[in-house]
């Protein structure tokens, strides 16, 4: 393709602005849904993988009959108050097949100085914890200092690197890598620090109702959940039966149960997204084919003229393909620009509303998504009009001129 061809292609694009920009806008929409779909897909997949690698536990025991839902509490980090029956941790630890059982405590504060929203405080028992401390060790090689806290990736800690709860400043020892759900807005503390926070709350007149009321008069503490790592070959069904026989009001969820629900949600989202992409693709291809067919029919005289002055058939085909490439390219870049602004502006909002773990992919993955979208969409126009371009290249210039004559 030389300057003459390029000149003709650009001129033909500009001379029918309504048609050209209309088609480009369609491609722009397609680029937008493809880009957002690709990024969403990567984000969901990355979120699930990260969460799966972090969960660590084979079985989770949580309260039943409360508003607590296994996925929202343990995976999404949502915080409703409900606690396991007293003595449940000790009982579970004594069961056959249990390698480690560790408790977790959830508290929710009103907005603290760090955040505009409620902060979930997750307390863990350092001696038995096998879930949270490995995450902490990814960013903090030393032991968690006494009274210090670790925060999720979305919590802003400022220059002082402290978070304020109930008029007390707590030093932040580390910020965790994102998980892609509300755990990114959580604070992780050991049980001793959790007790401090609870005392500070009491001093301010805030009472964590269930926790305090239920623990009154009992040496046995209560927990929000117990996470279990099983020995190899352990019988989960038997374990579950034994817990249910001993305690009412508990739910037992295996790692597989928890993730199958999330995977279903993520898969459903992906199906919706890719269905929209397919729909737009079909509409765009149909519109391009129809538009180019009509346009080339109207321009038979021009193609005949180009043949007369020495355009080879191949070059006529290149002209038509070039026009479709220009339509695609303009649309692709408009679409990428607009959808990039939208996606990266609203990524946190999207992450909060998709209701499954969501982590925006790294730069290399983002670049790959952009490259695929650019390559794919640059080829949509030319592939769609290839048949039309072939027809134009076979135009009978002599007949086309005679049609004009008569």
């Amino acid at each position: 393709m030389n300057k003459t061809d390029l000149n003709l292609i650009i001129e033909n694009y500009l001379r029918n602005p309504f048609r050209s920009f209309g088609l480009s806008l369609l491609i722009a929409l397609l680029a937008s849904v493809l880009l957002v779909g690709g990024l969403l897909s990567f984000s969901l997949s990355k979120g699930l993988n990260r969460l799966s690698s972090r969960l660590g536990a084979d079985v989770i025991v949580i309260p039943q009959g409360s508003e607590i839902n296994d996925q929202t509490v343990l995976l999404q980090g949502d915080s409703k108050y409900a606690y396991l029956p007293q003595g449940s941790l000790e009982f579970i630890r004594g069961l056959d097949g249990v390698e480690i059982a560790t408790p977790q405590y959830f508290l929710t504060t009103l907005s603290s100085s760090c955040c505009d929203q409620k902060v979930l405080i997750i307390g863990f028992e350092p001696a038995s914890d096998f879930v949270i401390q490995p995450w902490i060790h990814e960013v903090l090689t030393d032991k968690l200092p006494k009274g210090a806290i670790v925060v999720g990736s979305d919590i802003s800690v400022g220059e002082k690197r402290t978070v304020r709860f109930f008029d007390h400043e707590y030093p932040v020892a580390a910020t965790l890598e994102p998980v892609g759900n509300k755990l990114d807005q959580a604070v992780f503390v050991d049980v001793a620090t959790l007790a401090d926070i609870r005392e500070a709350a009491k001093a301010k007149g805030v009472i964590f109702l269930h926790q305090d009321v239920k623990s009154e008069g009992s040496d046995s503490p209560i927990y929000s959940s117990v996470l279990i790592k099983l020995r190899a070959g352990a019988d989960i069904e038997r374990l579950s039966r034994e817990i249910h026989t001993r305690f009412d009001g508990v739910q037992i969820r295996t790692r597989k149960d928890l993730f199958s629900g999330l995977e279903k949600s993520a898969n459903f989202l992906q199906i919706v997204v890719w269905s929209i992409v397919a729909l737009f693709l079909m509409i765009a291809v149909a519109a391009i084919v129809i538009s180019f067919s009509l346009s080339t029919r109207e321009r038979r005289r021009e193609y005949a003229l180009l043949r007369i002055v020495g355009y080879a058939r191949k070059r006529l085909r290149t002209l038509v393909l070039g026009e479709s490439l220009l339509v695609s390219a303009v649309g692709t870049y408009i679409g990428l620009l607009l959808s990039s602004v939208a996606f990266f502006t609203f990524k946190i909002w999207i992450g909060e509303h998709v209701n499954v773990p969501f982590i925006v992919p790294g730069n290399a993955e983002i670049a790959a998504v952009y490259a695929v979208v650019v390559l794919l969409l640059h080829s949509v126009g030319p592939l769609a009009v290839y048949g039309v371009a072939n027809k134009v290249s076979k135009i009978d210039a002599y007949a086309a001129l005679r049609e004009v004559e008569h």
Partner: protein, 237 residues
């Protein structure tokens, strides 16, 4: 000999029956020749010219241009010959509607040189012969207009200028004086004669009897057959 045509046929199917629009034509042209082909509408002369220019492929026979048989050349090669060596003037003046008349005239040159079509000013046209042809054809003042703003006669003259822009070895003109008044028809024939005089081979298909006096060789086309002047009714004109 620049053009050697032998045993040439172009066969079409009409209402289920074959007919020869061009029927066993023998034709030769030399540099500096002015050949005139006379024929009624539908006699096959436009079809013959399209075969001579390589726009159309014959059903049978050969068109040999400067020793190269079009049948043995690729479409790219024939197209390049048409661009550089053949100036074709179609019966109907066809133009790219969104380029100026000057840009349309310079289209074959832009194509040959791989340059942009857009031209800002006639001063960009450095070729004295083209500038002179535009003056001769009386359209120099119209070159910045858009094609839609020109009359049929003016467009016809612009199409003639376009055919000359690459200084072709052969000019093939299909009814070059249709839509032209007597004065302009004479200007066109004079210009074509001058081209022939300077060594270009000119082949004109026309109804216009005025053209006969310019022709070195006169042919008549009738039902697809090309008859030399000695065998035609018009040979003595």
């Amino acid at each position: 000999m620049i053009l050697n045509v032998s045993n040439l046929y172009k066969t079409y199917i009409r209402r289920g029956e074959e007919f020869n629009a061009v029927d066993n034509v023998e034709f030769f042209a030399w540099s500096g020749d002015f050949s005139v082909i006379y024929g009624e509408s539908g006699s096959g002369k436009s079809t013959l010219l399209s075969l001579l220019s390589g726009i159309n492929r014959p059903s049978k026979g050969s068109v040999i241009f400067n020793g190269a048989d079009f049948a043995n050349l690729s479409d790219d090669a024939v197209s390049a010959v048409r661009n550089e060596k053949i100036g074709y003037i179609p019966q109907e003046a066809v133009f790219l509607p969104h380029f100026t008349v000057l840009e349309n005239i310079l289209l074959p040159k832009a194509l040959r040189d791989g340059e942009k079509i857009e031209v800002r000013s006639i001063a960009d046209v450095t070729d004295v012969d083209i500038a002179s042809a535009l003056e001769t054809l009386g359209i120099a003042h119209l070159v910045h207009e858009m094609p839609a703003e020109l009359s049929g006669g003016e467009l016809k003259r612009a199409a003639i200028a376009r055919a000359l822009v690459n200084k072709p070895e052969v000019v093939i003109a299909d009814e070059p004086t249709s839509n032209l008044d007597e004065t302009n028809a004479k200007i066109v024939f004079d210009l074509l004669a001058e081209l022939a005089h300077s060594g270009t081979s000119v082949i004109v298909a026309t109804h216009d009897p005025r053209g006969f006096r310019y022709g070195d060789r006169i042919y008549t086309m009738h039902k697809g057959r090309l008859l030399p002047s000695a065998e035609s009714d018009f040979g003595g004109l």
